[in-house]
């Protein structure tokens, strides 16, 4: 009998009961608020040059503090926010309890992490900046995005045969 080991460490957040945390169902236009957050986020991305291929090259050559300052201060602000949410039991705007789910360790974080790192330094972009770069008019990056989608698809195809 073949035992299927679950290697989908994210399904917990995708199709388990506690999925998507929010148990509420909303009409599609409720998603507009995420679009607005995305727009603001995209503006910050471009204006801080996080989406610049050149800034990523500087980062990986230790030639500038800029990217370290951005990622570092983003983490600090994120940590303080999460701490405040937990401490004061802050609810969502729909009055739901905010939930966090623990990530479990698997070797994919090492192998996949290294592979992503290689790709990050070549393209000068992680997934978020790819979208922002296309928005700035760098249309050829659409090909890079399609290739990234293909990479995700191939991972899904090979997942059971990869070490985790």
């Amino acid at each position: 009998m073949v035992q299927h080991k679950n290697t989908d460490f994210e399904t917990r957040s995708l199709d388990a009961v506690c999925v998507n945390e929010s148990q509420l169902t909303h009409k599609w236009y409720h998603n507009i608020k995420y679009l607005v957050v995305g727009v603001l986020f995209g503006i910050v991305f471009v204006k801080s040059e996080v989406v610049s291929w050149f800034r990523i090259q500087e980062m990986f050559r230790l030639q500038s503090f800029h990217m370290y300052g951005i990622i570092g201060s983003a983490i600090v602000v994120g940590m303080i926010s999460v701490w405040l949410i937990r401490k004061f039991n802050i609810k969502t705007i729909y009055g739901e309890r905010i939930e966090f789910h623990p990530k479990t360790f698997n070797k994919g974080q090492i192998y996949g992490g290294l592979l992503f790192g290689l790709g990050w330094a070549i393209t000068g972009a992680c997934p978020g900046p790819l979208f922002a770069q296309i928005g700035t008019g760098a249309t050829v990056i659409f090909v890079t995005l399609l290739s990234a989608i293909a990479g995700t698809w191939v991972y899904g195809l090979l997942r059971d045969r990869l070490p985790h």
Binding site: V19, F45, G108, A132, I141
Partner: protein
């Protein structure tokens, strides 16, 4: 004010704003900050091909697609309305190194000398844009997240697997930028 906004924003303004995305998404609807999942949702929506990894109710995760589409629009807004008229300023050492590979155009956020449509059919362009993109998509999903999901959201919630992933991102990046990329750029 507009003139002020048009300059490149310093890290101590941009970093905290990016960090605030974490509570914003949580408070707006219990969403965990993460961008690379959008690539998975696109696969699930467009080409699930009976692969179990893509068989889930992606519509429930549609918020993530709205979010990334917003990032794209944000990029367009920033470049139209708040564009910095000056080229990107980089470390002179990097500029000297890149000049050696014929990269001298700093007008865009991407190096137009090597990343453009005609370059796609060259080996260098193919490696930079197609192979690079593939590694980003494959690696982030294999790792279970990218800079946003692991480095920012994961570390904000003090998860050690995310620290492992983040360290591996950086190690991979250092290896590529310093040891492999010079050979690709020299092609």
């Amino acid at each position: 004010m507009l003139e002020f906004l048009k300059q490149p924003w310093p890290w101590y303004i941009a970093g905290p704003l990016i960090g605030l995305t974490v509570p914003a998404l949580l408070i707006l609807g219990n969403k965990s900050f993460g961008i690379s999942s959008s690539l998975r949702h696109i696969c699930a929506a467009c080409l699930p091909a009976n692969i179990s990894f893509f068989k889930y109710d992606w519509k429930k995760e549609a918020w993530n697609l709205f979010f990334v589409f917003g990032i794209l629009i944000g990029g367009a807004v920033a470049i139209r309305l708040l564009s910095n008229p000056n080229p990107v300023e980089v470390n002179p050492k990097l500029a000297a190194e890149l000049a050696g590979y014929g990269i001298t155009n700093y007008d865009n956020l991407i190096p137009l000398d090597i990343m453009n449509w005609p370059a796609l059919i060259t080996l260098k362009g193919f490696l930079l844009m197609v192979v690079g993109g593939f590694l980003v998509g494959f690696g982030t999903r294999y790792a279970g997240g990218c800079t946003s999901g692991h480095a920012i959201m994961g570390l904000s919630t003090l998860q050690w697997p995310s620290l492992v992933a983040t360290i591996c991102f950086m190690v991979g990046g250092f290896i590529m930028a310093n040891l492999i990329l010079p050979h690709i750029l020299a092609l």
